[in-house]
Amino acid sequence: MSNEEKKFLEVKGLKKSFGSGDTRQDVLKGLDFTVAKGEFCVLLGPSGSGKSTLLNILGGIDSADEGEIRISGDKLADMDEKSLTRYRRKHLGYVFQMYNLIPNLNVKENIETGAYLSDNPLDIDELLKILGLFEHRYKLPNQLSGGQQQRVSIGRAIVKNPDILLCDEPTGALDYKTSKEILQLIEEVNQKYGNTIIMVTHNEAIKLMADHVIKFRDGMIRHDIINTEKVTAAELEW
């Protein structure tokens, strides 16, 4: 891996606060870390530790007060709104805790909303098979289970084959079994398509399947660990 690939995502001195005066709350208090290309990185921490805020800043839908983020050498802060939209369109995939599917589009069409954004999207039918949704491709979201809906949302995010897949508590609303299935899917996607995955979670168990674990507390990085003994998602227990 080249040095450039090792520093695919580079965060330096990142700070963010909300409110002002007495109500000012420092959410991120100066973060420094790097993520390598194709790495499965988990941002771990309790609620309110600032991990979702970090994810939103990395996704270009929120901005930092101080510090800089570089992706493949491009500085995020230099981008105007249009460039940020283009950046998200070309390089990012988003998966949220709530699936946020379009209710009156069927499974395939929901995935097409992602495919449309790419000039070179993945083959949708093949992806549907990988997601285990091929049989359900003509169903509407309200005809699916929560796990299936989250699969659709992952499909929508990865169909454009993004460089980075940002996942914000993707298993937060799911039961143990479904969560594991989703984690297996993300793992499979990571392995098959080689996207860099940054996943926010408060589930300690998930860190075991990551290449890189960044532990948060009170807006600061407590631990930045490269996991050399990672396990498969199937082996996870909590």
């Binding site: 839908i61 988003y94 946020n100 070179n120 098959k192």
Partner: protein
């Protein structure tokens, strides 16, 4: 990681486009409602544009094809060809020169006669004296020669000799002496002196008279001649009766066969072929129920109706150009053969049409040409050899209501229709915008996700704008198709019900399409664009957090300690304030339309019913002379009759010049009460202030202390008066002053008057002295004609308003319920029954509708009063917009009934919200 094993697919078409159709299907009821309103409005307005444009085009074309006159003038009698040729030349006659020449000729005769008489008298006396002297001398010679005579004998001798001498010599001597005298220089000098004196007097008199005439008609202004073609278009005005319909009496203006000018369009039947056949106006035939084959009486002459026509110079049936309103109910225009014309026993009116040889470029040129032509007409008639020939009327085409009123009305309706369409489109666009705003709120997280995934604002904007645009485009297409086919006929039917319009050919005008398609689309785009862009400016994160409010409420509004249900309802109200504002705007719009639909018939009925009471005297007779042939003042039998004077002036304005009746009345009149203060002020004479009628004050916003200026119709003479009082007379635009002041102002004799007024029917005046009788019927012409033209449509319009109200209410209450679907579902889970939930969510809306109706009723009435005034400003007379309490109640009930129907639908909507909805969304 090796990506080469990954198979790529094709980039799909924008799936959001697919979603647009799905959105339309999912929400078909809402879109259908909006679509329906738009189709109906666009259809009707498009129909109006097509009908109006086609008809206006036909009228324009017909003015050429049917050789419509440039104007006409009515003379006191038939003019000879010399006069007509002179008029046709368009050149002004040198009136003073002709008058002078004629006066000189006349004067020369008279002067010569006078001089000759004087000379003859002189010469006769001289000859008589000479002969007498000779006879006396001869007698005295004989006496001197010795003849003895008494004095008596001498005188007798002289008398005898004188008689003989006179008989033998006098005549010859006088003739010789006269001849000699006339040959003398003295005679010539005397004649020349007398002629000089006479000429001076003539010149002075002609100069004085001509300069007055010249001032009045700008005759001194030198201008190019306006050559015209002149045609006879004689007519006879006579009573019209319909055989078998005793209740009908009207007036028919019968023309002889029209050949060259002011032709006509046969609407049904044929032209008369023999002296007992008649062609009548189609509109009047409709109104009076005269069928082809029926017999009508023109005076006492029977004719069989063989056809209906639209005469190019009578598209609107104005009997006289000074009438305040046309009258297609009792006034008819007809045409018979020349033989048929001579059968009618009535005075032939010497009406002549003129057509400019060189067509005026525009209206201004036409006005200027008509003024020039009038000058030439006045001078040519003035110098006509028939000194009794007078101009009785002069109406250029552009001022002829019978020709222009319908066309102007068509034009005005187009403007009104356009405004109505744009207001309704704006209301609908706002409803769409509110709907979209609600949708954006509901889909907040989806939008956030799409934006976070890289969808641009433009892409989302285009998506959210697609549905309203598709609806408006489809509505415009279907509306235009309906406009060109169905509604065009509806609108044209309305016009055929008022005016005598010709057959028309539909003109495929792009104006209708542009105005009814492009403009609503642009309105829809602008309003929706503004709302969507405003919301989409928020960051994706705020969408993801459902944080769409720009101003964050710091704290929840604290409510008084009312019971839970009341507080809940207030929360619903507070949550939906924007929707309720929209509801208020929608209801105001409907109330404005309803004000017209309910108020117009009410106003017309009110005025028709109370006109007799509003007139200051129920009967008014205007006399043609104040004294009868024997020189006795004409007096009616009625004890309650009162003298008055009346004169018509004009309140000039660019848009509409209104005729104003100026009355001179007795200071202690019992019909028009004048205050003592005013009567004493009036003694100042012609410059004293005046009293105006309530109608004048209301129509033109003139109040006590203001100054009014009225003008002579055909002269450049203005009268300016200060308004002293406003009289409560509201039946007409009138000015009152004392009879004394009136006679001073208009230069009349001190005891001059025009007629009598009384509350009882005026009797005892020979008909030959009655010039005009004014009754309540005459005053109601405007109200009657408006009622006939528009009254019937107003009932339908009321139903349309209720439907529009129902649709607007449906759309807005749907939004309120949809917004709260999840909460309603949760309330159901908690155990509230549908009735309770409905009372929570529907009661605030009911209250808002209730209050909005009251406010909107007032606003609608006020707005309608303004529109009404604008409309009345283009017509003669005045009646204020009226709305009775029952009218307001009717409006209220209609809209509330619409709301109640919608409430039933809303109740069912609430009933059908599944409990699972709350749970499912909470997953």
């Amino acid at each position: 990681m090796d990506k080469s094993s990954i198979s790529s697919g094709k980039r799909p078409r924008n799936p959001l486009l697919k979603r647009v159709w799905k959105d339309l299907r999912r929400d078909w009821k809402r879109y259908l409602m909006v679509w329906l309103i738009l189709v109906l409005t666009i259809g009707f307005v498009s129909g109006m544009y097509v009908a109006n444009n086609s008809m206006i085009h036909t009228l324009d074309e017909n003015s050429e094809l049917m050789n419509r006159e440039s104007g006409h003038f009515l003379l006191s009698g038939k003019a000879d060809s010399k006069v007509l040729d002179a008029i046709a030349s368009g050149e002004m006659a040198d009136v003073p020169a002709v008058f002078r020449e004629r006066a000189y000729e006349k004067a020369e005769e008279e002067v010569r006669k006078a001089v000759d008489e004087a000379v003859a008298e002189n010469v006769t006396e001289q000859v008589r004296s000479a002969i007498t002297s000779q006879v006396e001398a001869a007698a005295d010679q004989q006496i001197a020669a010795g003849m003895t005579v008494t004095d008596e004998e001498r005188q007798s001798m002289i008398d005898t000799a004188l008689e003989t001498a006179m008989a033998e010599n006098f005549d010859k001597a006088v003739t010789d002496a006269l001849d000699e005298a006339k040959r003398s220089e003295e005679y010539s000098d005397a004649f020349a002196d007398a002629m000089d004196k006479a000429k001076k007097e003539i010149d002075k008199e002609i100069d004085e008279k001509y300069s007055e005439l010249a001032d009045r008609y700008d005759l001194n202004e030198k201008s190019d001649p306006v050559p015209v073609d002149i045609s006879e278009l004689f007519y006879k005005d006579t009573d019209e009766a319909i055989s078998g319909n005793d209740g009908y009496t009207g007036t028919v203006r019968v023309y002889s066969q029209r050949k060259n000018v002011d032709l006509f369009d046969i609407m049904e039947g044929r032209v008369p072929e023999n002296d007992s056949e008649i062609l009548i106006d189609r509109m009047h035939a409709d109104n009076a129920g005269i069928g082809i084959g029926d017999t009508i009486l023109a005076g006492n002459t029977e004719f069989e109706v063989v056809g209906y026509a639209s005469f190019v110079d009578y598209t609107t049936l104005y009997e006289s150009n000074t009438d305040t309103m046309f009258d297609a109910l009792t006034f008819d225009v007809a045409m018979v053969t020349e033989e048929g014309f001579s059968r009618i026993r009535s005075n032939t009116r010497a009406n002549y049409t003129f057509t400019y040889k060189e067509k005026p470029a525009d209206e201004y040129a036409e006005k200027e040409m008509s003024e020039r032509f009038l000058r030439s007409l006045i001078t040519q008639v003035a110098v006509a050899e028939d000194e009794d020939l007078e101009i009785k009327d002069f109406v250029p085409a552009y001022m002829n209501n019978a020709m222009t009123f319908a066309e102007n009305d068509l034009g005005n309706d187009k403007v009104m229709g356009g405004v109505l369409l744009y207001i309704l489109t704006a209301v609908l666009a706002f409803i769409f915008a509110v709907t979209i705003s609600t949708t954006l709120e509901q889909e907040s997280s989806v939008i956030g996700t799409l934006r976070a995934s890289g969808y641009s604002k433009g892409e989302l904007l285009r998506y959210y704008m697609s549905a309203p645009l598709i609806v408006v485009v489809l509505a415009a297409i279907i509306g235009n198709i309906l406009g060109y086919t169905v509604f065009k006929n509806v609108v044209i039917g309305m016009y055929y019900n008022s005016y005598s319009l010709p057959k028309y050919s539909t003109m495929w005008t792009p104006e209708a399409f542009i105005r009814t398609t492009l403009v609503p689309m642009i309105l829809m785009i602008i309003i929706n664009f503004a709302v969507i862009v405003h919301t989409l400016r928020l960051s994706p994160l705020r969408f993801l957090r459902h944080d769409l409010k720009r101003t964050k409420r710091k704290k929840a509004v604290r409510l008084p300690r009312w019971n839970f249900f009341s507080r809940f309802r207030i929360r619903v109200f507070l949550q939906n304030i924007p929707n309720y504002l929209m509801l208020f705007v929608g209801i105001t719009f409907v109330m404005l339309l309803l004000s017209m639909a309910v108020g117009m018939p009410e106003t017309l009925t009110y005025y028709q019913g109370s006109m007799a009471d509003m007139m200051f005297a129920k009967d008014q007779v205007i006399l043609s002379a104040s004294e009868d042939d024997d020189g006795n003042t004409i007096v009616p039998e009625n004890a309650d009759a009162e003298r008055f004077s009346v004169y018509t002036l004009e309140r000039k304005s660019d848009s509409y010049s209104e005729e104003v009746m100026v009355y001179g009345i007795s200071p202690d009149s019992k019909y028009i009460r004048l205050s003592n203060g005013f009567v004493s002020e009036a003694k100042a004479g012609e410059n004293a202030p005046v009293v105006i009628s309530q109608a004048y004050s209301e129509k033109y916003g003139v109040h006590e202390g203001d100054v009014i200026t009225l003008s002579e119709k055909y002269e450049h003479k203005d009268y300016t008066w200060k308004v002293s009082e406003v009289n409560d007379y509201s039946a007409a635009i009138a000015v009152f002053m004392t009879g004394e002041q009136f006679n001073a102002v208009f230069g009349k004799d001190e005891d001059d008057f025009s007629g009598y007024m009384a509350d009882s029917k005026i009797t005892g005046i020979d008909e030959e002295y009655i010039a005009k009788e004014i009754t309540a019927d005459d005053m109601m012409k405007v109200a009657k004609q408006l009622d006939h033209s528009m009254g019937a449509y107003m009932t339908y319009f009321q139903y349309v308003c209720v439907i529009v109200a129902a649709i607007i209410l449906y759309l807005l209450t749907k939004i309120i319920i949809e917004k709260n679907e999840r909460a309603i579902s949760m309330a159901k889970i908690l155990g509230y029954d549908t009735g309770e939930i409905a009372s929570l969510y529907l009661a605030p809306t009911a209250l808002v509708v209730f209050i909005s109706e009251f406010l909107a009723m007032y606003l609608g009435f006020m707005l309608m009063s303004v529109f009404w005034k604008v409309m009345m400003m283009k017509m003669g007379g005045w009646f204020a917009f009226q709305m009775s309490v029952s009218g307001f109640v009717k409006e209220f009930v209609m809209v509330f009934a619409a709301y109640l129907i919608i409430t039933i639908l809303d109740f069912n909507r609430i009933k059908n919200i599944p409990k699972a909805l709350a749970l499912k969304n909470m997953e």
